[in-house]
């Protein structure tokens, strides 16, 4: 799952550094994630994982780190195994 999240970040988040080098706990906003790019990231994640983020998840914290994204998607239940790697 982390790899897929990184792929989606690469495609949509327009970060200012190599996504592979960003740790799962690093602050993505400090890596250049803007509020506009967050919307594209959400759309990309919804498409990749076939989920829909409910309104309560549409806040800064949900998309702050790769780990938070992973936990949110896991909570929504994609059927994909949750990888901690």
């Amino acid at each position: 799952m982390i790899d897929k999240i990184r792929d989606t970040l690469r495609q949509h988040a327009r970060l200012n550094r190599d996504v592979s080098a960003i740790s799962v706990d690093a602050d993505l906003y400090a890596c250049g994630l803007t509020s506009h790019a967050t919307v594209n990231l959400m759309l990309g994640l919804e498409d990749t994982f076939q989920v829909e983020f409910p309104e309560r998840m549409l806040r800064r914290r949900t998309f702050e780190t790769i780990a938070n994204i992973r936990d949110s998607i896991a909570e929504l239940g994609t059927g994909l195994p949750v990888s901690k790697s």
Binding site: A30, F53, E55
Partner: protein, 389 residues
Amino acid sequence: MPITVLSRSFGALERAQRIGLEIAAPFADAVDKDARFPTEALDALRTERMLGIFIPTEFGGGGCSIADLSAICATLGQYCSATAMIYAMHQIQIACIVRHGADSSFFATYLAELADTQALIASATSEIGVGGDVRSSVCAIEHDDGSFSLAKRAPVISYGEYADAILATARRTPDAPPNDQVLALLKRDEFTLTQTSGWDTLGFRGTCSPAFTLTATAPDDHILPASYADISSQTMLPVSHIVWSSLWLGIATAAVGRARGYIRAEARKSPGKTPAASVRLAEVVSRLQGMRALVNDSVRDYESIMHDADALSAMNFAIRMNNLKLSCSTSVVDIVSQSLLICGMAGYRADSKFSLGRLLRDAYGAALMINNDRIYGANAAMLLVSKDD
């Protein structure tokens, strides 16, 4: 009819009313005509300790609420738009320091100093080269042995020449991305302003908001500890939209007041006959009530979650606060225009007590400060994923 609900009474609203009526109003036309700073009203607000009104009482301030600020701005807005805007912008800066600096020993001391001196704080958030996006900076903080330096080209700094301090945004370091910003306090003896444009505008002429090049050197602890991303979403944006909308409500209220006065005068001339434009008055009064209701509802909305950082970062909250700005900035133009139709030539004349020219010119500024198209664009993007209203 009260402008808005005052949650607690400190006599502050009465003081604002008196300063507005007795000091701001008599100079409003001269301030507008000469595009000069409303010195008399700001001196009075300082003397009456209205500048530190939002600082908590533990620091020696007035301890008032956002609802109080909203009511004060709406009151001042009825008498002099420039005075109200300067006052509102100052309170936005105070709110940022109160809510994001009180834990820092420097800012705690500074808040007490502000309450004591009633200093006026300006804002330097916009910058040449970022296309109007205040969440991006070109300039950066450069640290050097316990202090930092900063050089910023600002397309506007409202009342910069008259401010005792400026809060400026900048990238955290020279290596930081454009949106990794901090907010730094620069006191009068720590900054230099070089004016690079004039200020001869359609409205809000007394805010004296030309372009400046700002250079500053200040101690490191003058940087607010929170990231600007948090300060912006939790405080600066919602408070800005609330206090601006409140003063636009004041402008709209003043315009409707003139329309009412005109219709009453007409009715007295011909008792028994309802003046033709009275239907328009009924219409505009209903519009004004809607605007007031939106301002008050937004104040309650913000106050109900203002201490919940997570809730404040929610997309639907951002959309609602943006809608407050979009709606009120449009309503104020509509309401003043309708009032002009009611007053007719008496409103069109610049020398009548029903004159609406200045109010209409000021009203047109509302959609431009943080351009409505930018805000509609932001909401449009968020609505691609947001589901709630």
